[in-house]
């Protein structure tokens, strides 16, 4: 009996120890689960906080890049505007260059000779080739009669052009006042009314008018006046007048000189015995 109760007691003790061990194991497992849950929670929180920081970082970079993009766009716009401005200025300079070349050629040609007929021919050439006139005439004031006398023409027979008194009609008024006349548009008509030019330019030496250029029609492709046309008209008003006037004087003096030389030759000749 004593031996049995001892065994029973031992078994009871073992069972108690086992139960305690079971309880301890259970509590350990529970604690383990709690800790794992906590770890998961912490990991999630960590992940979240890391994502937020990354998003914040990305947002900051996007903001900086957007600012850079806006600044680049602004600079691009400015450069584009500058480019446009340069292109525009380049065209203007090119145009100005061409205009200057035209004016230089016209001026050079006008003063390239002292032959009266040649000067008139050059004036005609300039009006045809540089201005694009089709029918026109050059008239000079006759100092004795104070009438405008036609001296050269293109597209109109010279004989068909009447003399015009200074102060008479558009042409006479231009010769009297020394102010250029431009009609409102340059529409060509079939016939020519000598008294109604589309353009009339006075030929002036300083304020003294020596004649006029009257234009009645322009070449088909000429639809309007450009800036260089007005420059050429101004150039013709001054330079053509000087060239015509000086060549006329030179030709006259040459003629007089040859007459005087002829007389001198006659005087030098020994009288025949």
């Amino acid at each position: 009996m004593g031996k049995d109760s001892k065994i029973l007691k031992s078994a009871e003790e073992f069972l108690q120890i086992f139960r305690r061990g079971e309880e301890f194991t259970k509590s350990l497992l529970k604690e383990n689960e709690r800790l794992r849950y906590r770890i998961a929670e912490l990991e999630e929180a960590l992940q979240q906080s890391s994502n937020e920081a990354r998003i914040k970082n990305y947002e900051e970079r996007i903001r900086v890049l957007e600012e850079e993009l806006a600044s680049l766009k602004e600079r691009f716009k400015k450069v584009e505007e500058e480019n446009k401005d340069f292109a525009h200025r380049y065209i203007e300079v090119e145009e100005e260059n061409n205009n200057l070349a035209n004016l230089y050629v016209a001026s050079y040609q006008l003063h390239s000779t002292l032959d009266y007929d040649e000067v008139l021919k050059i004036v005609l050439e300039i009006i045809i080739n540089l201005i694009g006139a089709e029918r026109f005439c050059i008239m000079l004031i006759d100092d004795k009669t104070t009438e405008l006398v036609p001296v050269a023409s293109e597209g109109i027979e010279l004989e068909e052009i009447p003399k015009i008194a200074v102060g008479e009609g558009i042409i006479g008024t231009v010769a009297k006042d020394g102010e250029s006349f431009f009609s409102d548009d340059i529409v060509n008509t079939d016939g020519v009314d000598i008294y109604k030019p589309l353009v009339c330019i006075p030929l002036k030496i300083k304020e003294h008018v020596i004649g006029v250029i009257a234009i009645y029609s322009f070449l088909l492709q000429k639809k309007a006046f450009s800036n260089v046309d007005y420059e050429l008209f101004n150039l013709l008003a001054g330079h053509a007048a000087t060239a015509i006037f000086s060549s006329k004087l030179y030709t006259q003096s040459e003629r007089k000189l040859s007459t005087i030389q002829g007389f001198l030759e006659l005087l030098k000749e020994k009288p025949k015995k």
């Binding site: 260059n97 050629v105 080739n129 088909l220």
Partner: protein, 123 residues
């Protein structure tokens, strides 16, 4: 270096065209006063392009085009006609004879330079 032959009887126009052509980099301008003079210059120097007026004394531009196109040595030279006539008929005649392009007077120098550069293949 492109050699440009300018055939024009009017000294004013000749000078103006030559002036414009000298603005093409490294170009050399050869001037001729009419068709006969142009043929002489063609025989003396290598020419890369011809700019010719239609109305000229001695030999006009149309005759020059015809002679150039019938000569195996010159037939491939581009020819640009310049004339006071804006009429379609003159343009057609010049083109049918072998001219490459046509420019009416008063010429716009920028347009002429552009056209010449195109035929000389200059950018």
């Amino acid at each position: 270096m492109p050699n440009i032959l300018v055939v024009e009887d009017s000294p004013t126009m000749r000078q103006l065209i030559s002036f414009a052509m000298r603005r093409i980099p490294r170009s050399k301008v050869i001037e001729a006063t009419d068709g006969v003079d142009a043929l002489k210059k063609l025989a003396q120097e290598k020419v890369d392009i011809i700019l010719a007026d239609i109305n000229m004394p001695v030999m006009d531009g149309l005759k020059l085009v015809s002679l150039v196109r019938n000569n195996p040595s010159y037939k491939d030279i581009p020819i640009i006609m310049i004339t006071t006539e804006g009429a379609e008929e003159d343009r057609k005649r010049a083109m049918s004879m072998g001219a490459n392009a046509y420019l009416p007077k008063p010429i716009q120098t920028q347009e002429l330079i552009k056209l010449v550069k195109k035929y000389l293949d200059i950018k």
